[in-house]
């Protein structure tokens, strides 16, 4: 039936929303260093772009469009021949049925459009959140060493959108004095300790801070200022303990 496919899409969108919400919440609230711990290369934040379903819905849209055109065409023809057809009664009821058919088709079209838009908007919102939460570094930073390259679960246009959006944020971050001085990408939890204990998860090398230079070797522990290592925590290089 028309609209069933779109319904499927919406159900999927809803499930996606719940799933990602869990991950993003974990990323936002976790005090122990980002979501990298419970989130390995196999799991993904955002499910696969449902190419097939989208394609089928778009096919349905085409079908519906053809239906409406056909119905309009018939109606026009009927109107032209109306004068010759004097049977008012049957003509009237036919007209009503056609109108109803036409309307149903139109509503299905509209609904499909809304569902597709909602699906895409939901995904783009998730991408936005991923960008803001620093889950997207440069590609090699994110899950380096795993077999995944890039973001396979995103569609081509979504990948484009993601990198453009990230560029936008980075650009604004570096150009706006206010944004950079308050570290707008920083932690959204109220600060409690200025200094925290961290454990280094991956070799990074030397980090220069106000309080001297640290050599961040894997598995070493440091007591450092939180704002100095905020980005490293987000990117999963170090862990708060």
């Amino acid at each position: 039936m028309y609209g069933d496919l779109a319904n499927k899409l919406i159900i999927e969108a809803k499930r996606t929303e719940q799933l990602t919400q869990k991950y993003l919440d974990a990323a936002l609230n976790s005090d122990n260093g980002g979501i990298r711990n419970d989130f390995n290369g196999n799991e993904t934040i955002i499910p696969m772009y449902n190419d097939e379903l989208i394609y089928n819905i778009l096919k349905e849209v085409n079908q519906l469009k053809q239906n409406t055109e056909y119905l309009q065409h018939i109606k026009q023809e009927e109107e032209e021949t109306k004068d010759q057809l004097k049977d008012v009664l049957s003509g009237h009821s036919n007209d009503k049925i056609r109108k109803c058919q036409y309307f149903v088709n139109l509503l299905c079209l509209e609904r499909n459009k809304r569902c597709l838009m909602a699906y895409q908007r939901m995904r783009s919102d998730i991408i936005d959140k991923m960008v803001w939460n620093g889950l997207i570094g440069s590609n090699n930073m994110y899950n380096n060493g795993s077999k995944r390259s890039g973001y396979n679960e995103l569609s081509h246009y979504e990948q484009e959108y993601m990198s453009q959006y990230k560029n936008l944020i980075d650009e604004m971050n570096s150009e706006s004095e206010l944004w950079s001085s308050i570290e707008i990408m920083g932690n959204m939890n109220p600060p409690s300790d200025i200094f925290i204990d961290i454990r280094v998860l991956k070799d990074i090398g030397e980090i220069q801070t106000e309080y001297g230079t640290f050599n961040f070797v894997k598995d070493s522990q440091f007591y450092v200022r939180q704002s100095d290592v905020e980005r490293l925590i987000q990117q999963g290089y170090v862990q708060k303990i």
Binding site: M117, D125, E177, S181, I184, N187, Y223
Partner: protein, 339 residues
């Protein structure tokens, strides 16, 4: 400069725990006091850490003749932050306040850097002079404490601004089409007015180019840029993945003619908690909206619920739950605040 980082860090550890105990007891008060304390420091960059009382008046950061103290700014910021987070609508951007806050933060950061450099130099000298004599540690601790307080305070102010701006950005994203529509409406009106102006050339005193568009009042330049760029990115994505496959008549993204409005609008009927503050500086007589009930003396604002034609008296100092649309104007005039 030889620094034993572990020693310093160990000391820092003790200090932060002390600070934490203070702040967790009574957060808002402690924060305010500390704010005052540290801002005093910031105003006297040359004085040593031991002098605490410095008059607030030598504040050069605000460009106005009237000096606005950093405490006032801070409490204003806190109010704005709360309002923004509680209101369904996007509230106007405080251009001047944010400029002042930026200057203050930068000054404070520089000041802190100088202070901590001095401190570490002193510490480095001390520790190299009397390496064996460990009795100098408590002295360092005492000196370190204000520094830590200032740093914690700076982090908190930064957090509030960050949270405030991010909250605004989230709203901008959510209502991006709606905001665009407001702007387009305004631009259309302006074009019409300009045409009118051309008709009669007498009215040249108020050139429309000088007027500020509603969007410019509502958003900061950064937010406007963000809004436009993000919207065009999003539109591009939607176009490429969905809209271009749609029949021609369904390709618009701001579809209002369909059976359901597709533009997200702020929910002006949302219920909000408000606290009635009254006019600024308690100038009760100058506020025309304010009504007075004698016996006992009570000042209140009167609002009417349109559906039930019921009057509500918003008495100053009390807390109410009302629909946002009813109190929007009072909120914009800063006569109430959201909770």
């Amino acid at each position: 400069m030889s620094l034993d980082i572990d020693d310093i860090l160990a000391e820092l550890d003790r200090d932060t725990t002390v600070v934490d105990n203070i702040s967790s007891d009574n957060f808002p008060n402690a924060n305010n006091n500390r704010h005052k304390l540290t801002k005093d420091y910031s105003l006297s960059p040359n004085s040593s850490l031991d002098t605490t009382t410095v008059p607030q008046h030598n504040n050069s950061s605000s460009g106005k003749k009237k000096v606005i103290s950093s405490i006032e700014d801070f409490s204003k910021l806190m109010t704005l932050w709360k309002n923004e987070r509680c209101s369904p609508d996007l509230l106007p951007y405080p251009h001047l306040l944010m400029k002042r806050m930026l200057i203050r933060i930068q000054e404070q950061m520089e000041h802190l850097e100088i202070l901590s450099m001095n401190f570490f130099e002193a510490q480095g000298n001390n520790s190299s002079d009397n390496r064996r004599n460990m009795s100098n540690a408590p002295v360092n601790n005492n000196k370190m404490l204000p520094l830590l307080c200032m740093e914690a305070e700076l982090e908190r102010v930064k957090f509030v601004i960050r949270s405030y701006l991010r909250c605004r950005l989230a709203k901008i994203d959510k209502y991006s089409i709606y905001l665009r529509q407001i702007n387009e409406q305004y631009l259309n009106e302006e074009i019409n007015e300009e045409n009118d102006d051309d008709a009669d050339d007498d009215d040249k005193e108020n050139p429309s180019s000088l007027r500020i568009s509603p969007l410019e009042k509502l958003l900061s330049p950064e937010e406007i840029r963000y809004h436009q760029s993000h919207f065009s990115l999003l539109l591009n994505l939607l176009n490429e993945s969905v809209l271009k496959y749609m029949p021609d008549e369904l390709q618009a993204v701001n579809d209002t003619e369909a059976s359901i409005n597709m533009i997200d609008e702020p929910d002006y009927n949302k219920f909000v908690f408000i606290k009635v503050k009254g006019p600024p500086n308690n100038l009760y007589d100058t506020d025309p909206l304010l009504k007075k009930r004698t016996h006992p003396d009570i000042y209140y604002y009167s609002i009417t619920i349109p559906e039930t034609k019921e009057d509500i008296d918003l008495i100053i100092g009390s807390i109410y739950i009302v629909r946002y649309s009813l109190i929007k104007n009072l909120l914009l005039d800063e006569k109430i605040e959201l909770l």
